[in-house]
Subunit: 242 residues, 2 copies
């Protein structure tokens, strides 16, 4: 038992969760029981429907959360309504701008989402007492920074075709639940609407739609019911990412 707990502790899987092993299976047990005491009665689970605003842009930060299920999109807007999705968070990502006074982004539920929410002060206090926790959060932050910079290449230098292929490739890696590691293909449901995809890629929905059609006609993917995607050969898709 202690051995299993240590396994989780050493893995890259994040963070915070209360002594709620039974209810939040998977993400819990990251902290040693004694470290958890401080949070044990301060976390709670929340459910959200697609479109729900989890954190508002320029809003005071009062709590952090862990994504337990679903996909969260982080967006930023210009005054005139133009929007850009600047990140996607999948379970079991940590959610929230640590140590910031106000959020720089809006966090919206892209699908049905479950969160495990903890008050800001409680987590920050725990971090202050527990450098290993801060280190794990640092690892996630560094990974997010890498991902953001990867995406900047996509936004700045890829064609519409390459952008859509890159998006599908990204989702294939994150969202195919049953995919064996060496598998050639992938099957998954898109967690985002065409409008969200367009905002993620810096395109319009029409262009996204047309490029999806082209990929379909080229036999790189098949789409059913708008959201269900099959990729027979991921390698072919990867080759179209630029």
């Amino acid at each position: 038992m202690s051995e299993k707990r240590r396994d989780v502790h050493n893995s890259d899987v994040p963070i915070l969760c209360r002594s709620c092993e039974a209810r939040h299976k998977g993400m819990c047990g990251v902290l040693e029981p004694e470290e958890l005491v401080a949070l044990a009665r301060r976390t709670h689970k929340t459910r959200h429907e697609p479109g729900a605003e989890l954190i508002g842009e320029s809003t005071e930060i009062r709590s952090y959360a862990n994504v337990m299920r679903g996909v969260v999109k982080l967006t930023k807007g210009l005054e005139d309504g133009r929007q850009q999705v600047v990140g996607l968070q999948f379970a079991p990502d940590f959610l929230g701008r640590l140590f910031g006074d106000e959020s720089q982004t809006t966090a919206l539920a892209a699908s049905d989402v479950d969160l495990c929410v903890v008050p800001r002060g409680a987590l920050e206090q725990l971090i202050a007492e527990n450098p290993a926790l801060e280190h794990r959060l640092m690892q996630q932050t560094l990974r997010e920074l890498d991902e953001a910079r990867d995406w900047m290449v996509t936004l700045g230098r890829k064609t519409a075709q390459e952008k859509v292929a890159s998006f599908l490739h990204l989702i294939a890696l994150h969202a195919d639940p049953h995919r064996p590691d060496g598998a050639l293909g992938a099957v998954f449901d898109l967690p985002l609407s065409r409008a969200d995809i367009a905002d993620f890629l810096g395109l319009t929905i029409e262009t996204v739609s047309r490029q999806m059609t082209k990929l379909r006609q080229a036999g790189v993917i098949t789409i059913t019911a708008n959201r269900h995607v099959e990729v027979p050969n991921l390698r072919r898709l990867a080759d179209m990412c630029g």
Copy 2:
């Protein structure tokens, strides 16, 4: 003396530097003397000319550095030669992908650059022993993530005009050495060539040049000797950033 040191320690200014107070003024003194002992004989200063490669993409990470002077551009490339600048680092930023096996970006000197280099192992050991140092590095990483996401909006959703204005605005805030805080205008030298600016903005050099000309004709900026920029009214520039 202890009070002054504590001031620096508590500020947001990073990181690592040896007991070289006299030679690296400004960035030093962040660490307590006893914390510095481990690094005191392991850092060294290096100079680089514009264009010099400081860290290669997909290269093993053997050292970290602190930017002492100048501007460093972080770039990523596609196989076919397309390039994207994914970040700019100004003194006194920390440079290097912490805890990573290989660098995800190429770091190039954009201007004359001085670095204070420290071997990877030495710094990581110091971090392990010193949570306060990791916390300061965490703060810089979070700031870089915020900046990357801001820039994603620029890349994905702004027009060429707005991109160029955004770039000039960014540089005005970082690179005007004498600007009083409430000043209306700014004067500075561009640390990047037109080609670099284009790669930062996801544009071509021709488009950058044309948009600069437009801003000049509109009276928003004046340019002399290709690199020297004066902005009489920053507010006007900001209004063009979208």
